[in-house]
Symmetry: C2
């Protein structure tokens, strides 16, 4: 079992506020898990009873809409925590988490985390700030969905994927999403997404090789995204 004191990603999450003693105790009660691409970490409506700390990999947070389609609310990657909102609200999770690539995660039971809230003010503030960041992001996202066209949203999402998760050596976007998943981020039909990608390709903005997407003209994409 790996030790939390030596875990690097801890430094990027709210957990960085924990003391040495708290970390040692944490090492004992946390459980480590390998999640394969496509596997579910938790599902909307479940009682998770703790938080997941992502050590490696990327997952999608999705919500089922009334029409039966999944919408991707957010992508989450190493250094971030999952399930905070649900734990604090003392409710089942409102989103599902599914691995987009192989992941390493640690689960910390609720009882342990709730103790930090009482004893470690800096940890509380960190969690609050992180949730506040999520809220701001959600507001921005909401306005984009309400006011921008599908084309603008696609351009913006491609740029976001590039900026947030970076590229492979062949300069293709590191996070590989199916067309279906991409469509479910920007909130459109899969066919519309495919069609617009083809348009972007014809315009020389991107290159498509199988699932791989290479951004060729960042500035033009920025202009399209407004």
């Amino acid at each position: 079992m790996s030790k939390c004191e030596q875990c690097i990603v801890r430094e990027f999450s709210s957990l960085k506020a924990l003391t040495k003693d708290e970390l040692i105790k944490l090492s004992d009660c946390k459980t480590s898990h390998i999640i394969k691409k496509g596997e579910v970490i938790f599902e909307e409506g479940e009682n998770v009873n703790g938080i997941y700390c992502i050590k490696d990999g990327v997952c999608k947070l999705t919500k089922l809409s009334a029409n039966g389609k999944d919408h991707i609310v957010k992508l989450v990657t190493k250094g971030e925590l999952l399930g905070q909102r649900s734990m604090i609200s003392d409710e089942p999770v409102n989103l599902s988490a599914v691995a987009l690539e192989d992941m390493q995660v640690c689960f910390i039971p609720k009882s342990e985390v709730m103790g930090y809230f009482d004893k470690n003010n800096q940890f509380s503030m960190n969690v609050m700030k992180s949730i506040c960041g999520d809220l701001k992001e959600a507001d921005d996202h909401m306005v984009n969905l309400a006011q921008k066209t599908v084309k603008e949203r696609l351009a913006e999402t491609l740029l976001y994927l590039n900026d947030t998760f970076g590229k492979n050596e062949d300069s293709s976007l590191k996070v590989q999403l199916s067309r279906d998943e991409l469509a479910s981020i920007i909130g459109t039909a899969t066919e519309s997404c495919i069609r617009l990608l083809s348009d972007f390709k014809k315009l020389g903005l991107i290159e498509l090789t199988g699932k791989k997407i290479v951004l060729k003209d960042i500035n033009a994409l920025k202009k399209l995204a407004e």
Copy 2:
């Protein structure tokens, strides 16, 4: 100057966790304000340096989108706090707040509130829970904007206004929004909103008298909203 100890709306906000001593101190440092309909409480990008407690009235939180149109992110009413996110993140506010009717609000300076976070754990938890609630709402809203049609969103919004803010004696919706504002909640063009309202009227779902809207067939509206 009114006393916070005796303020009823306090019981509905995170401030209910404050002790008697804290409330007496709060009464001294808070400032009360009357905001007229249409007036701005704060504007996107401003440094607010504190939070507003709404004693009476309703306001809209809006965000300017890239195309220059305002989007209404949320309606906020008595008992709720404004500016929490911005204060915790230590950033300018990301939304503007504009009164939809005459309002009474109290302003509590940041220095005072931040003290509570250190000393009063229940207050911290209350604030966290309230922000978590906002986040969950935002997620839901996002999925609706992404997946539902304008008609569905309009029906849903009318029901939401009815459930959340209630009706006048003439059974019209209490919160009066212009067609423009209604359109900017559901994320559509003003004309489309007007047209759909006319359709709903023709179908006998609602009644329109000037700005007043009466919901005539709640069940049918629920069906439309899915």
